[in-house]
Amino acid sequence: MTPLDYDPAYSAGVRNLLIETATPRTSKRRHRIWIGISLVVGLSVLGAGGAVAANYLLPGADIVTDTSTSHTIAGVGPSDISIGSAPAGTNSLETSLACLSTGTLTWPDGSSMNCTSTDDANHPGSASIPWSHTRTVFKLGATAGTRWRLTYTFSRHQPTSFATNAAGQTYGIDGSNRHPDLIAALATNGRQGYINAKEQAAADPCRSPKNPAAAVKCTDDNSGKTFTIPVYESDGTTKIGVFTIGG
């Protein structure tokens, strides 16, 4: 019998479904946090494909362990929220922030989310932020009068190294502080592969603005446009699909 490959798109879907199924009910929101992280901290590579960070085995992905259960608190306007001492071993805080009315909400690290519709309560913004275990106050920025709901869980992130292919390129999950040559991404056909960081940068028409005003104009001029780049195996040359940027 000729060995047949298991449908790769279906396999990626089943794999994610298994992770969803195995996620404990109290931290189901935390799992969605991990998928949604790009929306807030601007990791555009995960924006179109999504869900890559949920893959336990990709090099460079942090191994994340919760050190507490999740807590939810609601309020209005900018607030210094006392969240208590973190358990020992904590180095991060997983957060999910939802607008319950229109306005802008800002995380302690300056990243923000703007809510304009009543449906935004169902689409929380998520971020995993470094957190020293002696820190007890979460400084939330908000437009005056904006109602919000914050769910947070203390956690521990353990980084793993990127891997290197035969051509000497590093590959793995892109991070805010370290960037591999080949960035893990999900192709539009559902297959998991890697995009070339140089090709990604070259596809961005606003990569070298002359000044802030030019950057804003460029973004506005190109709003809604999409660009397609190849997705490769970890060897950096075998094409397995495409990835869409922008839009």
């Binding site: 019998m1 060995p3 047949l4 089943v14 893959n55 085995l57 090099p59 559902g190």
Partner: protein, 188 residues
């Protein structure tokens, strides 16, 4: 499929998943998907059914996590036995997961399996369920003792059943069935 060599047994990985590390459960998929798929394909002979059955087997493993019987720390025999059971009635086995599975994407290459052992598959289906499970495991390279452990029989009872089942198949097919099937890899 995976990158790092994880030294943990299946049971240790499953325990981690049950304790809250949901991503560890995906590691079991990475380890055993192909073996389960190969076994499902041998039984169903229809690619889409075998892929569905494979997904259902792992979802069932989560649902029945406290009842999984391991063989030397490996849950692969349990997965293969479950594959045999799921393939016997795919409709019923998949009912609770139908909505979730139907929402997942497929790619367009849908080659079907070739091969001439349809007789064997049909003959196997005439056997009682537990005999199908036992023979399925021996076809996958497990010893009689391991197969016995996987289905919860004494080695003697398993040996008797396997011998009788093979005799029945030989009578039905007019030839010895087992030597014609080579499993793709031996058990770990």
């Amino acid at each position: 499929m995976g990158v790092s060599a994880d030294e943990r047994t299946d049971l240790e990985v499953l325990a981690a998943a049950v304790a809250g590390d949901s991503r560890a459960f995906a590691l079991l998929w990475d380890r055993h998907r192909d073996r389960v798929f190969g076994h499902a394909l041998r039984i169903t002979r229809v690619r889409a059914d075998a892929e569905d059955a494979t997904a259902i087997v792992f979802l069932e493993a989560w649902r029945k996590q406290s009842r999984i019987r391991d063989v030397d720390g490996s849950i692969l025999p349990w997965l293969l036995v479950t594959t045999t059971n799921v393939c016997r009635n795919l409709q019923r086995a998949g009912r609770r997961y139908r909505a979730a599975l139907d929402a997942l994407p497929h790619v367009s290459d849908r080659r079907e399996p070739t091969g001439t052992d349809l007789d064997l598959q049909a003959a196997l289906r005439t056997l009682p369920a537990i005999d199908q499970q036992l023979l399925g495991l021996t076809l996958e390279g497990y010893s009689t003792a391991q197969a016995a452990q996987a289905v919860g029989l004494s080695p003697g009872a398993a040996r008797t059943r396997i011998t009788r089942a093979r005799q029945r198949l030989r009578t039905q097919l007019g030839r010895a069935p087992i030597a014609d099937i080579a499993s793709q890899e031996g058990p770990r």
